[in-house]
C-alpha cells in the first residue's frame, strides 16, 4: 500500500503533505495516473511556493485517485489505500493521522479530499473559488476545482489556508488580494447565529451519518445557534449538473496527455493515430475513461444544449438558491457522504459510486462556495465566510 508516491525524507518541522495533483519541481507529480508516472514539472504550484514561504516543509506527495477521481483514492494506478480497519481511506488523511505532519493540501474537484477528511474524522476546508491560486495544479475541472486543506484540528487547517490564500497574476480566475484577505484568521467576521440543515440530503444518508449530523447540531444548539431544516430540492440538482460539467472539462483537460510530448508512450504504434489511441488506452484507468466518454458526449454538438449548457444554467439556479438561503441562514449543514465507512467491495459493486456520492459535495463545487468538513459533516457558507464557518467548526470540534 502506497501512502506516498514520492517522499521528501529530509522534511523536518511543520511538515505538509501535498496530494499528487500539486506540481513540485523536486518531487514527481503523477496525478495518480500511469500516464504521468515519474513526471517532473519545470515549475511548482503557487500554493507550494506560498507554503514554503510561510515556513512549511513539503513532506511528500500523497497517493491520489487518478486525476483525483473516485470515491477516495481507489482509482490510483498505484493502488488503493485502506485504514487500520480495512476501510477505504485517502492517503493524505492516513499520513496526517499516523505522522507528525500538520496537514495536507490538495486539489479537489469531485469531493474525494472532503470525503477523506470526513471518514477519518479530520477537518477540511474548501475555500471560496478564486481565493487560492490553481496555478501549478493538474487541471481536472477548472470551473470548480479548488485547492483545499485538511488537518487534525480546525486551527491547523486554518493556518494552512492562511498560508496559501491570496491573489496570483498567473491564474486568470484568481480574486483580488482584498477579497482573499477576508480568509485570514484575524480578518473581521460576522458570527453565524442561525444555520439551515439540508433536509432531504440529510435524510438520504445512513443512520451513522445522521447521528454525526445530530451531534454537530446539538453542539451548535448548546452554544445558542439556531438550527432549522430547509427545503433543499433545488440543491439536489447540483449532482447531475456538476458531474456533467466536471466530466466535460476533465475530458478536455486530459486530452493533452497524448503520448507525444511527455508522459507514457505506447510501444505499440505505426502511426500518429495509433500512438494517441494506444498510449491513452494503456495508460488511463477505467473510471477516467468513463469520465472522458461521458464528458465528450456532453460536449458533442447534439448534447451541448441539453446537457452542457443546461448544466451551466443549473449552476446559476443553485447559486441563486444559495443566495436566497443565506439571507436567513449563515450556513447550510449537510452530509459529506452517505455512509461513515466504505470498503473496496462497495466500489466493486457500484463502479459509479463516486458520481452518486457527488450529491453532497456538488452544491459547494458547482457554486464555488466555501465549505468546511468537521465532525464528519459539511458546512457550506456564503462566499468569503470561511472564518465564520471555522468558528462553527470550533464549536463542533469541542463537541
Amino acid at each position: 500500500m502506497k501512502l506516498y508516491l514520492d517522499e521528501n525524507k529530509n522534511a523536518a518541522a511543520r511538515k505538509v503533505v501535498l496530494n499528487d495533483m500539486m506540481l513540485t519541481t523536486e518531487l514527481s507529480t503523477t496525478a495518480g495516473s500511469k500516464m504521468l508516472e515519474g513526471y517532473k514539472s519545470l515549475f511548482e504550484a503557487e500554493a507550494v511556493t506560498r507554503l514554503k514561504a510561510a515556513g512549511f516543509e513539503i513532506a511528500g506527495k500523497s497517493n491520489v485517485g487518478e486525476l483525483s477521481l473516485g470515491l477516495l483514492g481507489e482509482t490510483s494506478y498505484f493502488g488503493a489505500v485502506t485504514d487500520d480497519k480495512g476501510n477505504l481511506a485517502l492517503a493524505a488523511n492516513e499520513i496526517v493521522k499516523t505522522t507528525d505532519a500538520v496537514g495536507a493540501v490538495g486539489l479537489d474537484a469531485n469531493g474525494s479530499f472532503l470525503r477523506g477528511a470526513a471518514l477519518s474524522d479530520q477537518v477540511a476546508i474548501k475555500p471560496t473559488y478564486g481565493t487560492v491560486s490553481r496555478f501549478g495544479t493538474v487541471s481536472v475541472a477548472c470551473s470548480g476545482e479548488t485547492v483545499c486543506v485538511s488537518a487534525k484540528s480546525v486551527a491547523d487547517a486554518q493556518s494552512l489556508l492562511c498560508a496559501i490564500a491570496g491573489h496570483d497574476d498567473k491564474d486568470g480566475t484568481s480574486l483580488s488580494d482584498s477579497e482573499c484577505q477576508r480568509l485570514c484568521a484575524d480578518a473581521p467576521r460576522e458570527s453565524i447565529k442561525k444555520i439551515a440543515v439540508a433536509k432531504s440530503l440529510a435524510l438520504s444518508a445512513d443512520e451513522a451519518t445522521r447521528a454525526k449530523i445530530h451531534a454537530v447540531v446539538d453542539a451548535l444548539k448548546a452554544k445558542g445557534i439556531e438550527v432549522e431544516p430547509i427545503d433543499d430540492s433545488v440543491l439536489i440538482a447540483a449532482k447531475t449538473a456538476w458531474n456533467a460539467l466536471m466530466c466535460a472539462e476533465l475530458c478536455n483537460n486530459v486530452s493533452k496527455y497524448d503520448g507525444v510530448k511527455y508522459g507514457y508512450r505506447t510501444k505499440n504504434y505505426t502511426n500518429i493515430d495509433e500512438l494517441y489511441t494506444n498510449s491513452r488506452t494503456e495508460a488511463f484507468g477505467e473510471l477516467l475513461k468513463t469520465a472522458i466518454l461521458f464528458g465528450s458526449e456532453a460536449l458533442s454538438t447534439e448534447n451541448y444544449m441539453p446537457v452542457y449548457d443546461k448544466s451551466l444554467r443549473v449552476r446559476r439556479v443553485i447559486c441563486e438558491r444559495f443566495a436566497e438561503i443565506f439571507k436567513d441562514y449563515g450556513a447550510v449543514l449537510m452530509p459529506v457522504c452517505s455512509k461513515t465507512a466504505y470498503t473496496e467491495k462497495d466500489v466493486a459493486d457500484n463502479k459509479y459510486i463516486s458520481f452518486d456520492e457527488a450529491s453532497y459535495i456538488a452544491p459547494a463545487y458547482i457554486s464555488g462556495l466555501p465549505a468546511v468538513v468537521v465532525g464528519g459533516v459539511l458546512l457550506v457558507g456564503a462566499a468569503f465566510s470561511e472564518n465564520a464557518l471555522l468558528e462553527l467548526a470550533k464549536i463542533a470540534e469541542e463537541g
Partner: protein
C-alpha cells in the same frame, strides 16, 4: 450554355502585431530558432493557466472598428478540441459564442464599380505550431514557436463573386489593418492566410450550390488561380457530370495547379466547443471602448481625398502615399514642419522610396523621423544645402537619429555664400580649361555645363547653383 455565378466567402486569418503570445509571455515575433519561443504554457504542460494578453483585445477591437463592425462589450473565449501534433494542449482557444466584433462591412472597388462586402464576425484565437518533416530520417518533429501567437479570423458573408473581387477585398483588408497597425499582413510570412469557401450556381438562382473550402491559401496569385480552377471544376461537374460535388475541404496544390480533396480524417469531427472556464469574460467598458476608438487612424481613402482636395496633391502622389501608414505619417510630419506640400510628397515618393528600394525594404518599413525630414526639406528650400548633399543627409537619417542642420555643419554640407571663394574656384577652373571656354564662346552650351560641374565639384556642392552659374558666365565673358 447557361451562365454561372460564383459565390465566395472568405475566412481570413491575420496574426496580430503583439510582442508576446496571447496567453503567456513568450515572444510572438516571426523567426527565431525552432522552439526558441516556448514555455510550459504554450507547449501544453500540466499546471499552466491562460492569462489574456489585453493588447490582443485592443487589436481585435481595432480591427472590428476599422471594418465597421459592432463590438461585443462582453466577449468570451472558448475551447475547440481536436487532436493534431501541432496543437500541444489538444484544444485551441478561440471565440465561438461571443466574438469580439460582428456585422461589419468593407467597401471594395473593382472594374465593375464599388461594392460592399459584409463581415459576419471577427474572432480572436491562438495559432498552432508547425510540423517539420525530415525526409531523410522519415520523422516529423514539431516547432511550437507559433503556438499561441494571437490571430484574428475575419469571416465574410458569401458576398464575393469573382477572383477580382476577392483580390480587391484582401487588398482592402490589408491596407486597413496595416494602417491601424493591427498586423503587417504579410502573406509570405504567413501573417495573413485565407480559407476560400466557394460554390457555383446558375445566374439568377437564389439557391446556393455545393460548397467546397480551400484552406490556408497564402498568396494572392495562388488564390486567383485556385478560384479559377475550382470554379471551372464546379461548372464542369454541373454541366458534364464529370464528378459529384460534395461539401468538403480541399487542399490547393499551387505547383500542380489543382485542388485535391483532403482525407476525411483531417476534416471530419466534432470540435466540442465550450466556454473556457479559465478565461473570465472580457468586459469592455466605455473608457476602454473610447480609448480604442480615439486611437483609430484616418482611413486611407479619406486621407487620399484630403490630400487631393485640401493639400492639392495629384491623385498619383496621393495614391502612392496612402499605400502605407508609414509613408502618410512621415509625409504629414514633414509637411507640418516645412509647410511645403509638394516638396514633402516628392521627397518621400522619390528620394525615400529610392533608399527603401535599395535597402530592399517595403514602404511600411520607412522609419525615418518625419520632423527631421521636414527640417531637411527647409534647408534645401532655403538654399542652405545642395540637392546632392541633402540626399546624403537623408541616407544618414535611415541609419541614425540626426538633426539635419547639425549633421550638415559637421560634414561641411552647408552652402557657402562667400562669393570671393566661389570666384576664386571659378577662375582656377576657367584658367585650367581654356578649350571649354573657347567652345562655349563658340556657341557650345554644353561646354558651360562641363565647367559648371567642375566648379561644383571643387566646391563640394556647397554653392547655390544659380549664383554659381551667374558668376561663371560673368567671369568667362570678362
Amino acid at each position: 450554355m447557361a451562365k454561372y455565378e460564383t459565390v465566395i466567402g472568405l475566412e481570413v486569418h491575420i496574426e496580430l502585431a503583439t510582442n508576446s503570445k496571447i496567453f503567456c509571455s513568450c515572444s510572438a515575433k516571426f523567426g527565431g530558432e525552432q522552439n526558441d519561443h516556448v514555455c510550459p504554457a504554450c507547449c501544453g504542460m500540466p499546471g499552466m493557466l491562460p492569462v489574456v494578453n489585453k493588447r490582443v483585445v485592443d487589436l481585435g477591437m481595432t480591427a472590428g472598428m476599422m471594418l465597421n463592425c459592432d463590438i461585443n462589450r462582453v466577449t468570451t473565449f472558448d475551447k475547440k478540441s481536436y487532436y493534431y501534433p501541432d496543437l500541444p494542449a489538444a484544444y485551441q482557444t478561440t471565440q465561438w459564442f461571443a466574438p469580439v466584433a460582428v456585422n461589419g462591412k468593407v467597401r471594395i472597388e473593382t472594374s465593375k464599380g464599388e461594392k460592399f462586402i459584409r463581415i459576419k464576425q471577427i474572432h480572436m484565437e491562438e495559432d498552432a505550431g508547425k510540423l517539420v518533416h525530415d525526409d531523410w530520417t522519415d520523422t516529423t518533429l514539431v516547432d511550437f514557436n507559433r503556438t499561441s501567437v494571437p490571430l484574428i479570423e475575419i469571416v465574410s458573408q458569401p458576398d464575393l463573386n469573382s477572383a477580382e473581387e476577392v483580390v480587391a477585398y484582401l487588398e482592402q483588408l490589408r491596407s486597413l489593418l496595416r494602417f491601424a497597425k493591427v498586423s503587417e499582413c504579410r502573406m509570405e510570412q504567413g501573417s495573413m492566410r485565407c480559407d476560400v469557401n466557394l460554390s457555383v450556381r446558375p445566374e439568377g438562382s437564389d439557391k446556393l450550390g455545393v460548397r467546397t473550402e480551400m484552406k490556408n491559401m497564402n498568396s494572392i496569385s495562388a488564390i486567383e488561380r485556385a478560384i479559377a480552377y475550382e470554379t471551372a471544376r464546379h461548372i464542369d461537374a454541373i454541366e458534364n457530370g464529370t464528378e459529384e460535388l460534395v461539401q468538403e475541404t480541399r487542399r490547393w496544390d499551387d505547383i500542380k495547379g489543382m485542388s485535391f480533396a483532403m482525407r476525411n480524417k483531417e476534416t471530419a469531427g466534432d470540435y466540442r466547443y465550450f466556454p473556457d472556464p479559465n478565461v473570465m469574460p472580457v468586459c469592455i467598458d466605455d473608457e476602454w471602448f473610447e480609448r480604442i476608438k480615439k486611437s483609430l487612424p484616418e482611413l486611407p481613402s479619406v486621407k487620399k481625398d484630403r490630400y487631393i482636395d485640401e493639400l492639392g496633391l495629384s491623385e498619383y502622389d496621393a495614391d502612392i502615399l496612402t499605400q502605407s501608414r508609414a509613408l502618410c505619417d512621415c509625409f504629414e510630419e514633414a509637411y507640418a514642419v516645412s509647410g511645403l506640400v509638394k516638396e514633402s510628397a516628392n521627397w518621400i515618393i522619390s528620394n525615400c522610396m529610392n533608399v527603401l528600394n535599395r535597402k530592399q525594404l517595403t514602404a511600411d518599413m520607412l522609419n525615418i523621423d518625419g520632423k527631421a525630414l521636414g527640417k531637411l526639406i527647409l534647408l534645401v528650400a532655403d538654399g542652405k544645402v545642395g540637392h546632392a548633399n541633402a540626399k546624403k543627409i537623408l541616407e544618414a537619417m535611415f541609419d541614425e537619429d540626426i538633426d539635419p542642420e547639425a549633421y550638415a555643419n559637421e560634414n561641411g554640407y552647408i552652402v557657402s555664400n562667400d562669393t570671393g571663394k566661389i570666384e576664386g574656384v571659378i577662375r582656377a577652373v576657367v584658367a585650367a580649361d581654356p578649350k571649354s571656354v573657347a567652345d562655349y564662346k563658340g556657341g557650345k552650351e554644353k561646354a558651360l555645363m562641363a565647367l559648371f560641374g567642375k566648379c561644383m565639384k571643387e566646391l563640394k556642392g556647397n554653392c547655390d547653383p544659380q549664383v554659381l552659374r551667374e558668376l561663371l558666365i560673368k567671369i568667362i565673358n570678362e
